[in-house]
Symmetry: C2
Subunit: 348 residues, 2 copies
């Protein structure tokens, strides 16, 4: 079982409009809702890869009730029904790397008095652009944080790996992820951290197994926009391994086993929402399957690109994933820090 | 008791943002929610004027539950608490025309299987502009419509007046308002209709006591953009009286007792959301109080302007209302149709 933590869960609402006109009244043509927050997105992709997962974090209010109800409805049966109405025959797709049947996602969210936030993605059907509105999230009390810690310790002790994902809600102390990293390490569990700003800075110092910053988060952390230099700097701050996501350029990994770049075979166009979460799921699943680093990275890049290509935000296109996976270029980087790579080789 | 009907109720959500940037991620600084839909807004103003009201229409799902809970919390106690934290000492304001204590709003909404829609008003705090996103609303089944009709007949029989407000949700037949007008008339109750398009066209033919179209609705109904001509044309289509709202120019009324224009003493700037609903509340309260038409119109114009001036959408500024009311200019129009007025007089 893989445990994913989403402290600031969200009810993700998507509005489709013919065109979004600012400072006017816009009719919404279609409304859809789903459980959101980075760790929940990661768990959804893990389930599609056949990995049983447990989601925890905070949930409350009517939006929290809706989130839990939708999460329960996202089981393998519901997914099969969804596949049946889509254009692509998902269950017949030549998916060689992932089982066809989804694994379960178990809800271990901790109830709070506050109300889970909503995020609203307004998709303008004329331009295809998305305008995102994110509510701030509920304030978590010290008693609620204490209740979460108790639950988390029990869950982490049973997990093959732990992922700590996303922003902190109001009321949770800035060292929260550092605390959760230390507890996972004390239980002997590998732990991945995917956050930003001060919570990332403090979390890294608690020595997680892996952090996955994007270029902006890396620059904010290290002060450098040179990817290899910044990634190595991030690693020196305490993380066993650092995988930097460089958008369309793929991933750059600096690990105890070596350094690699992994890039998709071509630039993909589409909706990047959830691409980072799919990469996290790829890295986590590869970790618990004890895959060599280049295979983990290839999986993460292929999942990420297949997420950009999927029409629904945060879903991945299984057929595109199967097609992309063997074509991801993984090249080893020089092991010398602060030096440009000179001898690279094609991995797969 | 005044009965207001809102077939397409809404949970009105307001988001305050520093600035709304389309096609980007926007952090919402502040979220507020309140029960919405035109008839519910009308009832809120009636309550502030001391008129007991009952709201009916459809409500369902988690958003419907939230709407009902917020409606119950909007009692006189909750309002006093709200006034206590605002800058203006509302309860000490020199309000001569309205009692200080609000009358109750009773919830007689009919539950449905579908989910009440949300509307989202995104207020850009840099420009003060509002971008509105309106969900379409739930589909009402024939059995739910039948249940509503039974409830409506019982409520209308006890009402001093009935107001039918806003759009029709999916599933409700286009002649629904005509049916509700006929039932109110059969019960001997005065009925006001405030809607648009085909439901307005059919509703007028059922001979309501009053319709309150705005300039666009009037033009759509009659094909004319000349206000007096169009208002008289609307009246010939079946309504006993027509009060056209002409935005900042005030109201134009064509009634069995005469025709009047009523205009605010000055142009007011602010948020026009709910100004039309406040005008309806002014007209309805004046009707049940048997005020002469010029006084009803003055009240409607003052309430409408005081709503534009209030900082919160759909609320009215009591102090501004008391100040504006004696200064509304009501001028009688010529009784000759298709002729420009020649002899106007100041009413108050």
């Amino acid at each position: 079982m893989i445990l994913t933590v989403t402290l600031n869960t969200a009810l993700d609402i998507t509005y489709r409009t013919a065109a979004l006109t600012p400072h006017a009244t816009n009719r919404v043509a279609e409304v859809s809702e789903r459980p959101g927050g980075k760790g929940i997105n990661v768990a959804r992709v893990l389930a599609a890869l056949g990995h049983e997962s447990v989601v925890t974090g905070f949930v409350g209010g009517r939006t929290g009730d809706a989130l839990r109800e939708l999460l329960a409805a996202e089981g393998p049966g519901a997914r099969a029904a969804h596949a049946a109405v889509s254009d692509a025959p998902v269950t017949d797709a030549p998916v060689t790397d992932a089982p066809v049947t989804d694994a379960p996602v178990t809800d271990a969210l901790v109830p709070i008095a506050g109300t889970t936030r909503r995020t609203i993605a307004v998709v303008d059907e004329t331009t295809g652009d998305t305008t995102q509105l994110n509510e701030p999230g509920p304030t978590v009390t010290p008693a609620e944080w204490a209740a979460f810690l108790t639950s988390y310790e029990g869950l982490a002790a049973r997990a093959d790996a732990v992922a700590l994902c996303g922003s902190l809600p109001p009321g949770v102390h800035v060292g929260a992820y550092a605390e959760l990293v230390r507890l996972a390490r004390a239980a002997g569990r590998p732990v991945l951290l995917d956050t930003s700003g001060e919570p990332l800075r403090r979390g890294i110092a608690a020595r997680p197994d892996l952090v996955k910053p994007n270029a902006d988060e890396l620059a904010q952390l290290t002060g450098s926009r040179e990817p290899l230099r910044a990634t190595r700097d991030a690693r020196r701050r305490g993380s066993q391994a650092v995988v930097a996501s460089l958008g369309a350029a793929g991933l750059l990994a600096v690990t105890p086993d070596g350094s690699w770049r992994a890039a998709p075979p071509m630039a993909v166009r589409g909706n990047p929402t959830g691409a980072g979460d799919s990469a996290v799921a790829g890295l986590l699943s590869g970790l618990v399957e004890r895959l060599p680093w280049p295979e983990r990275l290839a999986r993460a890049v292929a999942l990420s690109a297949a997420t950009v290509l999927a029409p629904a935000a945060g879903e991945f296109d299984r057929e595109a994933y199967a097609d992309l996976l063997p074509r991801v270029a993984v090249t080893e980087q020089s092991s010398q820090p602060e030096q440009e790579p000179h001898a690279t080789r094609q991995h797969r």
